[in-house]
Amino acid sequence: MSETHPTRTPAFEARLRKRYAAEKRFKAFGLGAIVFSIAVLLFLLVTMTWNGIGGFSRTEVAVPVDFGKAALTLDPALATDAAKIQALQAQGLPAVIDDAAKAALSEDGAMQLGAESWREAARALVDNPALLRAKTILWLPTSDDLANAYAHAGQADLQPLAERLAAQGKLANRLDLGFLARSDATDPQWAGIWGALKGSMLTMLVTLVLAFPIGVLAALYLEEYAPRNRWTDLIEVSINNLAAVPSIIFGLLGLALFLGVFPSLRSAPLIGGMTLALMTMPVIVISGRNAIKSVPPSVRDGALAIGASRVQVVFHHVLPLALPGILTGTIIGMARALGETAPLLMIGMRAFVATPPGGFTDPATVLPVQIFLWSDEIDRGFVERTSAAIIVLLVFLLIMNGLAIALRNRFEKRW
């Protein structure tokens, strides 16, 4: 060996083995880093899903009710569901439900029927007036205490009752799609995320309407027309810096400036959207500029050569070609804004809002802030609801990011 390879001394061989071992260690460390990151991601998602599944259901009791005996009537002429429910309440529906619960679950069980449970019954009647003359079994939400006892989380004194009812098949966790249709409540059994979701949508709409046109126009100006001078540099520096300013600073701006001018719009999606628009605009400008930059100069030269004006070149040729890239960047920026919490806390969107906002100037909250508010509650029910709300938020983000990727793959041209 040493004759053909005079340099391969034993010392060399040992060194080489060491170097190869180091190589292997290094590579394993690199793989480990990636595996760790992805494992954390998976762990996070699995934990949230595991906790959150329970948030889409709630503890309900079965109450057989004979509406025929109660002789309730429902005037179909009443315009809104709310008015119908009110009419049912006036005819004594709560008492009917309470009596039925006492008969079916005995006194102590009926005590744990939520005080507002008759509303579920009323809604069932409004949806299906034929029930008014029928005998039916309604599943109604229990009090939060009984729900906790059923889950063996505290409330030791109620656990015998929970076990008895569960053994009779009258108490169970049932899928609660109303979670997606109700708003915030103090009782986790009644909490829902529709209010926060609607607030998020209104806020995002304001953000999009403000940030998208301004961002695209600014990107076009900087990339296509701006002369190289100190002003342009100043604009570029401020855009790059805005993209890196902590989001909470934008909240301070919204608080001092927007709420200073419109003090009556505290917690309104309009102000939230304006604040997030300032934050999203630089993201759109930066991604827009990259998309515009990737349109080859030959397209511009060709259009100019056949007599288009500079504005026509940009709006007839460059912008349509860059649009998929701009939209991708916009969706990613909007996804970031959708997940943003801190600036909205600053402008008061953390209020307890029990009705979905009716417009851009109504008090509202948004999905991430709702998650934050619920995360402060120690009740077991809210822990599940928080994770369920997180699942909904992540699903929305996934859809948006998926859309961005699909858009990029479908429309982006390689020149």
């Binding site: 590579k27 600014a218 100006y221 902590p246 001092a256 200073g260 630089p282």
Partner: protein
């Protein structure tokens, strides 16, 4: 929804102007010798439409600010307003109720005395809505009519429309400067007010932070921000970076140098998902899962009274959040190192990891350092994770298992509390925000400088 009506009206008028002007221009074109006029008919249309839309939109925006005040004034002038209490919460509440009934968002008033105000409100709102519509129409007719009369066969409509478009583009790009100015002015204004009450030296160099929003005294000894900045740096720049730098750098190295393209195609987006998870979710994860696990682990190795809200939990989770950021920065910079340097090193017999450690990383170092600085600036500005997992007590300590608080946490705490807007505790949030803004700004500027210098070395 009065403003929606006005907006629709404005758009309808602009559309009508566009159609009319285009039709007129077509008339010119047909009459012109050789069918040539100075601009395409569409540009004549846009010229008139802009002359209608811009003044009308400006009016609608202004009207939306002024009209509600005019309505309230005319209601106050009505005889029913004499029963209102002269000032205070009750007065505002009664006005609000009456207004809600008048516009139909509420069924009835809670305060019986407000019932008399409903009718004046309805009347005033109706009157001002009518005035708004009339002024909109008049404005559109005047300005649109003037523009319409200017149209001629040799009218250079395109140049004028394009000039307007360029103005719009310039205005849009000035929005960034305005935002920066808005941030600076709002922060500086409130900070100056704060420093009027608390000596800046006490604020910057004091070591005790315990503002009391309830006390009437501005006690400078309670506004020492050193523990906050220590907590911020300890969590964001030390613990988080101890996680993010090695893991981010190594994932970037593995992805660019070792992984096959097929794996890279899957691993890179998976890593990017980590960056897309909202911070409130990380915060909840830190508070619900990581912090209790750390407390239990500390208890298991015999460290008593470990807090359930620890700097370590917040820092670790923040580090995980920053991994993709560091990784993509390092990825870009390593990929930018000229291939010849890598080939040269490998040709000399260096192993892959020796090439990476001794050639690629040193060559990419300025870019990586800049990336790390940007990552730090992002970590110290991060709010939700620390709000949910780091705790409220300011502790000047090295123990990562202790509760620590950060600048962002205190900004949230001071501004979501009960304090009034001119109390030093509330204003201190703006001073903290201002310092935070300056720090992140400084980090970004330095990072950009470093990147710029690095790029010049190889091009």
């Amino acid at each position: 929804m009065a403003s929606a009506t006005l907006l629709l009206l404005a758009m309808g008028l602009a559309l009508a102007g566009w159609l009319a002007a285009r039709a007129r221009a077509w008339g010119f074109k047909r009459a012109a010798p050789g069918g040539r006029i100075a601009a395409l008919p569409g540009y004549h249309g846009w010229y008139v439409a802009l002359w209608i839309a811009v003044p009308v939109l400006a009016f609608v925006v202004a009207w939306n600010v002024i009209a509600p005040q005019l309505v309230v004034q005319s209601v106050l002038a009505s005889p029913a307003a004499n029963q209102l209490p002269p000032f205070g919460m009750k007065r505002a509440m009664m006005l609000g109720e009456a207004r809600a009934v008048a516009i139909g968002t509420a069924q009835g008033v809670f305060t019986p005395a407000a019932a008399g105000l409903v009718e004046p409100f309805r009347e005033a709102i109706g009157r001002y809505r009518l005035i708004g519509i009339l002024v909109t129409l008049a404005l559109a007719l005047l300005s649109g009519g003037w523009a319409f009369l200017r149209l001629k066969p040799d009218f250079t409509a395109r140049t004028r429309v394009e000039r307007a478009v360029m103005t719009g583009l310039l205005a849009a790009s000035l929005a960034a400067i305005l935002t920066t100015l808005g941030i600076l002015s709002s922060l500086v204004f409130e900070t100056v007010r704060f420093f009027g009450m608390i000596n800046p030296l006490d604020f910057l160099f004091g070591t005790h932070w315990a503002p009391d929003p309830m006390s009437d005294m501005a006690d400078p000894s309670r506004y020492g921000s050193i523990p906050l900045f220590w907590g911020t740096i300890y969590i964001g720049a030390i613990i988080a970076m101890l996680v993010a730098i090695p893991l981010g750098l190594m994932s970037a190295i593995y992805l660019t140098q070792y992984a096959s393209p097929r794996w890279r195609k899957w691993l890179k987006p998976a890593l990017e998902i980590l960056a897309g998870v909202p911070t409130v979710v990380y915060g909840y994860f830190a508070a619900l899962t990581v912090a209790p696990a750390i407390r239990d682990a500390a208890a298991a190795v015999g460290i008593a009274n470990a807090s359930s809200e620890s700097a370590l939990a917040a820092g670790l989770v923040m580090g995980v959040m920053i991994i993709p950021f560091v990784s993509s920065m390092a990825d870009d910079n390593i990929a930018a190192v000229p291939q010849a340097m890598r080939d040269g090193s490998l040709a000399m017999g260096a192993t892959a990891n020796e090439t990476i450690r001794k050639v690629l990383v040193p060559a990419a170092l300025p870019g990586i350092v800049a990336g790390v600085m940007l990552a730090i600036s992002r970590a110290i500005g991060e709010t939700m994770i620390v709000v949910m997992a780091a705790g409220a007590t300011a502790n000047l300590t090295l123990n990562p298992l202790k509760t620590m608080t950060t600048v962002t946490y205190q900004i949230v705490a001071m501004l979501t509390g009960e304090g009034s807007f001119d109390h030093p505790a509330t204003l201190s949030a703006f001073a903290l925000g201002f310092v935070l803004f300056l720090i992140t700004l400084g980090l970004n500027i330095v990072a950009l400088r470093v990147v710029k210098r690095f790029r010049e070395a190889y091009e």
